[in-house]
Assembly symmetry: D3
Homo-oligomer: 256 residues x 6
């Protein structure tokens, strides 16, 4: 049937009949689920180990935590604009957080680190850094077409999630009529968050918060890469060379 294409979720209306002593599945109807938020995706793909409801509460807590009103207004507007996809999409095709709700999982982990760092260094603008952590990867909701079979769209490949996100962000924020520097500071953080031109950021971090966001992104994504690489390795042995970790074989120490 035409609707049985990879990456779709279908509802099957069927009945099990006993026919000559053998169970038989009789399909009445197969219908495509158009809106993926209606189904529990964890039945169809690997999902974040954290319960979605817990993550949604944590996100709310962060949204309520801002003291800078412009930061709050913008972050609420942007996240609500992408909300359904933001809470369900994976953060990557492969490499790290390549599971359902991966963007949300990764964004919250980065917000946690952002909060920690801001407590240690009062000179950091905490609200900017946390907002950057929450929003930096939202572009991936546009870059990928289908959360069940994450693959870059043509637009995603030709323009990249950094530029796509920046343009979407700007469109939403321009309508909010914010007077302060907050929009341009957040736009800079989004554009610079890969940390290096060779990694696809069109500008290098040029504010304290943009520089920290790139570092925090590195830490959280690499922790996930190491989790995955070390899982199948025995204690006292090395992983294969990890391309994403400077081509180094990582060691799994013996339990003590």
């Amino acid at each position: 049937m035409q609707i049985l294409v990879p990456g779709t979720v279908v509802m099957v209306d069927a009945r099990v009949n006993l026919y000559k002593g053998v169970n038989q599945l009789k399909i009445n109807e197969v219908s495509k689920i158009e809106n993926l938020s209606e189904v529990d995706l964890s039945n169809f793909q690997r999902v974040s180990p954290l319960p979605l409801e817990d993550m949604k509460k944590k996100l709310d807590a962060y949204l309520n935590s801002f003291s800078d009103k412009d930061v709050e207004t913008i972050t609420r507007a942007v996240i609500s604009h992408f909300y359904d996809k933001y809470i369900t999409y994976p953060a990557a095709v492969k490499i790290h957080h390549e599971f359902g709700s991966g963007i949300l999982h990764h964004s919250l982990a980065m917000a946690d680190l952002a909060d920690d760092v801001a407590k240690r260094y009062p000179q950091v603008d905490r609200d900017l850094l946390v907002a950057g952590a929450l929003m930096h990867d939202i572009g991936k909701t546009i870059e990928y077409e289908n959360p069940l079979m994450p693959a870059q769209t043509v637009e995603g490949k030709l323009c990249g999630h950094i530029a796509i996100m920046y343009a979407e962000f700007k469109k939403i924020v321009d309508e909010l009529n914010i007077k302060s520097e907050v929009p341009v500071l957040l736009e800079h953080m989004i554009l610079a968050h890969h940390g290096k031109l060779e990694w696809g950021s069109p500008v290098l971090p040029a504010t304290r918060e943009a520089w920290l966001l790139a570092q925090i992104d590195l830490i959280d994504s690499h922790m996930m890469v190491l989790d995955k690489a070390l899982a199948p390795i025995k204690e006292g042995e090395f992983t294969p060379r990890l391309w994403v970790m400077d081509d180094v074989s990582f060691y799994k120490p013996k339990k003590r």
Copy 2:
């Protein structure tokens, strides 16, 4: 007076009096010209050696030359949106085309090369390439604040003209409701036109036309760099090392 700040053009209402046999300038009023398109900028800055009227006619000819309707619709919409600045702004703070109407001068020269190349290689999408040539640097009208004293704005420094242009372009084009791939193909050309990640493009050229646009940009800008570098050099001698030309000293051959 407060209005006499660098980068402004002022109208001076004054009278020359003869006082004890000496000419004396008596100023009645100094008023700031708010709209720079009302004045002939060539009185205040170095401008393109090509007459502005000729360039405007050539631009019109190119706008009339498209056979692809989507390309035409988009290019007209984008250029008219930025028109006043597009025809007066310099293309750079320094390095190349750093004179009044530099963007227009540089864009038309690139359109000429684009047209030539497309004639030689019929497999090239001529309309896309010419449109890319005309629009690729429009972001500089936003990146710079004042055409008389070109300096990057804070937004220009933090986001760069490539991303700024891309977002503006997308906003304008999204409203045109184009169905074809033309918008994303042009967006890719704008994003990729620096040709290398290290030079600030967030994606590498991945279409024939995007790759050619980057090459054509290189040729026209470097011709201008060489004009400037070779002008003060005697025949049979070398320029100083030119940073922008791989740090090479260029030779000025003897006239034959």
Copy 3:
């Protein structure tokens, strides 16, 4: 038989006999064709899509087009010295223009671009640039042993076509007793035409024409690379990563 080695063309004198109702080929003699210009190579290898006669006429037209007598004298002398191989050899073992008469095809395409660019920039020495385009790859006639099975000779591998060409060029030109700078300017163009030291040029381009020649070479060779890479790809899809194009997957837009 000893003469049936790969890369040779042989003349077979044979007769078809009917023997017991079956056609039978009776070979009388097999003789090696020593001079490949006696045969129509298009029977044995992929050749340029352009008819050889047309290309030869176009070459003549370019040779007649020079106003600089030194450029003309040198170009005629060099091309006539290599003529037979120049009009039949492929331009590469693989990658681009890897077909019969590939050097001629590629050289003329570059001369066309050179002519175009020189018309747009009167400060360019058109004759030098066109002559450079015609002669820059002649060294490949020495670098490769056999046009039917192009493979680098030991000398080609150990010395490279750039140095080989330069030495041959210098030998021919030294005997012409030219007084002007033209010989050294053309020698520089040949040596610098790869554009980068990492790509095997022993010097970087240091004249306007040498720099342009390297750019034009890049454009024509990359157009050919893209033709080949995009040919088997469906519209709306991407090529595999192209090593020669910065390892990028190129997109083939949908027909509009």
Copy 4:
């Protein structure tokens, strides 16, 4: 006098006499202070903004916080071996933490971040990471000769603080007769903490904790670099290019 050489602290026994109505300083004796821990160095150099006593207490708290006995034994042994210098030396000749007690200040800030990160990622070996933070720069006590005039010794220049520290560490730890992998894991962290071969680490990080230590070192040292670079800059303006931050000019946002 011979003892009045730069970088020494001297005790001056003098008396102020009134001589013909003018105060006169009569010096009886000048003696060199051999042991710098006897004097309050903050009288002679810029010191950490944090009170030394507070830092010492915090250090004690960290030493008491280890649950891994091998980590604790080693860290106590190593720090007590270098104690006097560890609590007074600067962390660098220039660039960052170039003030009295800079090593201690920087090590504790890194231990704080290490603690934070380990709380967020339970898969991190917290004790190893904190111990690495406390000890990674102890080699600088040997690399520099004089805390008042920090300059690398000949040994410091020829061998570098990473190798020097590693050898000292190994000597101390070898005598502790530890059976577990802890010594080699800490040695690896010390050797790899610069994070890149080009930055003088002889091995790349190959354990989760070694990788994190290098990231945390980057964050704390760069926060200090930015503090210093941004201090003299007006809001809304950019620093000069910062060599240590990828040659980027950093922006100081306007207060909101």
Copy 5:
């Protein structure tokens, strides 16, 4: 049996019986040889083509050749400390000198070159250079576990033979109570002998002798690489690309 593990040498006490006209091996006992110096390793692995006794004599000659007493004292102490392994271990797991007594073979060949160079350049400190040649790779005796199955230990992988050697060297030398600069000069040579930070030296050569040692190491190891790569190649042909020789295919000239 448990003792029959790869990399061990065992003594087999067996008898050949004739049983029903067929030879039969009857094993009485298999016992592991604990001390590998008791057996002739050339029975079990590829060994240096030079007789071990000759190499030992040559080593003695070099040890007797020093006129600088500090150099002699240190070199004798260090070599005797590692003697058994020094004369039997391979110099590498693969790439070069990967055979029994490879460290000794390679060290003596380098000492020969060192001696030659010092004769040509009297400004070279010959004793330092020869001592560096003899000792630079001793760390490999610790980096590898088993000379019959050379594989890096966990410590070897995590710390590298350069740092390991440096620490061992320092420990031995510190006890000799040498007053001159010789220890630090030799330590620098050991640390810098890879010649580049990217190749794992934590410091770059900063003395004449350290720079020469790195060059001499390059020459001897690359001669061995070429011997191995060219051996199976016919005259007049090329090797495959050699990763260790800048990825170049080397030519084997025809015999003349």
Copy 6:
């Protein structure tokens, strides 16, 4: 007078007169010395510390030492072709061997090292390596115009001494009608002797002898660079950073 231009040697016919008790120089005639080999250049420039006659004898000895007749024939032909300049020219404008007879001095020192290395490694083709050492820099006689004021000619700058030498070498050797591979092997050595494409060799070393020649060139030129850099430095101190030695400050050890 017109002939008193920098870089010329003039013969002055003058007389010292006593005039009013003061010595006065009366010049009768100033005539330019056209052939610099007529004069003792050591009166006018810094020359090699080795007596020219000794170097000439050593050169003769090397020319007589070849057992390979083709190598001998070629080397004699090439050196005699350039003889006058070969024995008087400096090897560089600056950096190393920048004194009279510098090419000869440097070539002989390299031949010495070549001879040493070939004795240690019998697999080396000694005659090729020594011949390469003697001839590799002969191109500098053409690259520089005037040995007293060494400066690159326009041809030297545009083509480089490697390509120039190769072409000259080929022209001379082609007339010798050598049948063996020796010419192409020597041509490869000349082209590859800089050892890296980034250093201006159009091909990388691909024979054992070409690779060794590049190493030997590095050693002899760097010994000279260090001599010059260390000369003004006190024992126990460091040179400034040496650009040519990877930007490292070199240490001058204390005399022992």
